[in-house]
Amino acid sequence: MSTYLSNNWETILTALRQHIWLALVPVVIGFVVALPIGYLGVRFPWLYHPLVNTCGVLYSIPSLALFVFLPVVLGTKILSPLNIVVALTIYTVALLARTVADGLRSVDALVVQSATAMGYRRLRRLIDVELPVALPVILAGLRVATVSNISLVSVGALIGVGGLGQLFTRGFQLFYTQPIIVGIVLSVALAGICDLAIVGLQRLVTPWTRYQRGAA
Amino acid sequence: MITFDDVVKVYPGGSTAVDHLSLELPTGKTTVFVGPSGCGKTTSLRMINRMINPTSGRVLIDGKDVAGQDEALLRRKIGYVIQHAGLFPHRTVLDNVATVPMLLGKSRKQARTAALGLLERVGLSAEFASRYPAQLSGGQQQRVGVARALAADPPVMLMDEPFSAVDPVVREGLHREFLRLQKDLGKTIAMVTHDIDEAIKLGDVVVILRQGGKLAQIGTPQELLDHPADEFVAEFVGRDRGLRSLSFDTAAGLPVRPLTEDLVLDDAGRPIRWSSGEPTGGSFTVGDSLRLVTDLAITSPVGIAVRVDADGRADGLVPHHDLVDHLAERRAAK
């Protein structure tokens, strides 16, 4: 194992760097896009069910299908990393838009009413009251999106762009377990680190949840 | 009869929930356990159907120790009603009520027919039978809970805060129906509440427990109101216990004065108003409580309560100073 690592560390690092980039850029874009969409699902209640259903359908499209389908739609080259980024962004939005809507809907109606009674306007109330209270739910969704993005990136290796997934295809072609094991370990570790980072962020920005019963 | 014989319950961790409790719950009567939170009232109740087993001591039903009996078979003979009713959300109202008879081996059809009758008994029409619990109001759910507990016609019923999850108006209605039902059925009932007013209203016997599961006093509601055993009980039954105690005495012994010209009657002899034009503000019969008479005398603009016979005809007057004298004598007699 150590000879494999020392002989290939450059390839491994490049793959890891690409993996991080491919997985996390969609998380950031997806989060930014999902916030207003999720809010619309709450602001206009008739939109909620269509929104949830659309998200469900989008999320159920297999990643490999989406990876190979997007170049046809976007006109991108099949080897372009953009396909992976767009595909994972779609998944992130599908997951988070619903989570944002559910999070906002879970805010105690009495809290919203008392904020309104104190004279908050809609936008200010959203930013000052509803979003912070919904944050634990939203961040839980963000954890799921981040972790699944990280594991999905590798599937991209089947179309030639897949970060650590390239270690899998290489190992498979050579019938050689070491690169596959290294790839799995790095991918799981990356997911674990990102997950922990979001948990840490959550503790930092929602200190009140630590004192609530049953909070994570 | 349910007997607690030197019962102790110590929870793992060392807190004593029930401390050497010995008492008897009379057959066919309602016994209400009441006390502040942490007094072990629910623990005591749950030891009767072995939801909790005592650390030491015995609980007996009609002389038989519950400890020796099969838990499930024992519980099927004991009705169980809890706060929020605990209805099965996945079963219709009818099937909720039919649960215990079916556990006891009745056919589905038999159990459902009987359940339909019970729904009516607790004041729910047949249209509720096919609904699910989520489609009912809190008060309706609680009625179903009572019907479900009554379904196998158990001689003993346990009720843990059965009416505390509904609003006061609904609770009032449920209280009335509980008293009506219990008058018909005569079950041996053990009930838990944190509300002393409810205990006094519904209980034939009231058991007051204090923190740490110690018995503070057991007695009829009137005994507790008139002769609290100590400061704790006096405090717990409340400041206006003197007034509330009047609820348990009827106006039968109350002397009345003959009618005067001042009271205007209709042709049948029923009171209409005072000649000054003031309203009478209501009337009482011999069977009514002294509390009602007191209330009438206090609120009457002329300070006189009007007594009527069974047909509503006025037959006597009670001025408030006569009432005060009577209350003083009553007190001296106790």
Binding site: V57, S60, I61, P62, S63, L64, A65, L66, V68, F69, V72, I78, V144, V147, I150, S151, L152, S154, V155, L158, I159, G162, L164, G165, L167, F168, G171, F172, F175, Y176, T177, I180, I181, G183, I184, V188, A191, D195 | M51, A72, L74, R75, R76, K77, I78, Y80, I82, H84, A85, F88, P89, H90, V100, L103, Y132, P133, A134, R148, A149, L158
Partner: protein, 216 residues
């Protein structure tokens, strides 16, 4: 977009090897096998942990751990270790469906209204009656949602089986890519997405049928 492959009647023959119906059939076969084996393993464990509360840590983290495992890596590792064939693929797919089923069985049992369970015991139900007549029916909606997400995941991932030489709808994607036949790739992407949506619809209907209306 070129849909000629999808709409060519020759590709819809029921008997030809590699025809679309044949590939759907093999795809569904992998999915069903993995779901059955996964359920047999995960359901009792999840129910036990949820019922007793023992091992909660395992159940709570199984979901996240499962999501972070890169399935392509797992699949290729199994093939390199065990050789080509159905077994390594089934192992990888089963590992994938276990976490959501286990976690949702656990969550379903944990989030039960304890008052209802208390009432059931108090009415004289035996422990097995409490489990089968009260706890399981009440936990069913949550358990079904876990099963549905497991099913979606495995439909998506079964496409990857083609990368290690098996059949399934992944064949259209992988083979199409290999020979630059984008019409075939598109056909594969569409059919597998439709299959995912249809399967979810069937499961949603099944859920309506087996979950008591009182729990909706």
């Amino acid at each position: 977009m070129n849909l000629s492959y999808l709409f060519d009647a020759a590709h819809w023959s029921l008997t030809d090897d590699g025809s679309i119906p044949q590939l759907i059939l093999s795809h569904v076969w992998y999915v069903v096998l993995a779901l059955i084996i996964g359920t047999i393993i995960a359901l009792p464990v999840g129910l036990y942990i949820g019922h007793t509360g023992r091992g909660s840590f395992l159940a709570i983290n199984a979901g996240n751990a499962g999501r972070s495992l890169p399935t392509l890596g797992l699949l290729m590792l199994m093939v390199t270790l065990l050789g080509l064939g159905l077994t390594p693929v089934l192992i990888a797919l089963t590992v994938l469906v276990i976490p959501p089923i286990l976690t949702s069985a656990y969550a379903g049992m944990r989030t039960l209204d304890h008052r209802v369970v208390d009432a059931a015991r108090g009415m004289g139900m035996r422990p097995s009656q409490v489990l089968f007549k009260v706890e399981l029916p009440m936990a069913l909606p949550v358990m079904m949602s876990g099963f549905r997400s497991a099913a979606l995941q495995v439909v998506a991932t079964a496409t990857v089986a083609a990368a290690v030489g098996l059949n399934g709808l992944g064949r259209l994607l992988i083979d199409g890519l290999a020979v630059n036949d984008y019409s075939r790739v598109l056909a594969g992407a569409i059919v597998v997405a439709v299959l995912a949506v249809v399967l979810d619809l069937i499961l949603a209907l099944a859920q309506r049928w087996i979950v008591s209306p009182g729990l909706r």
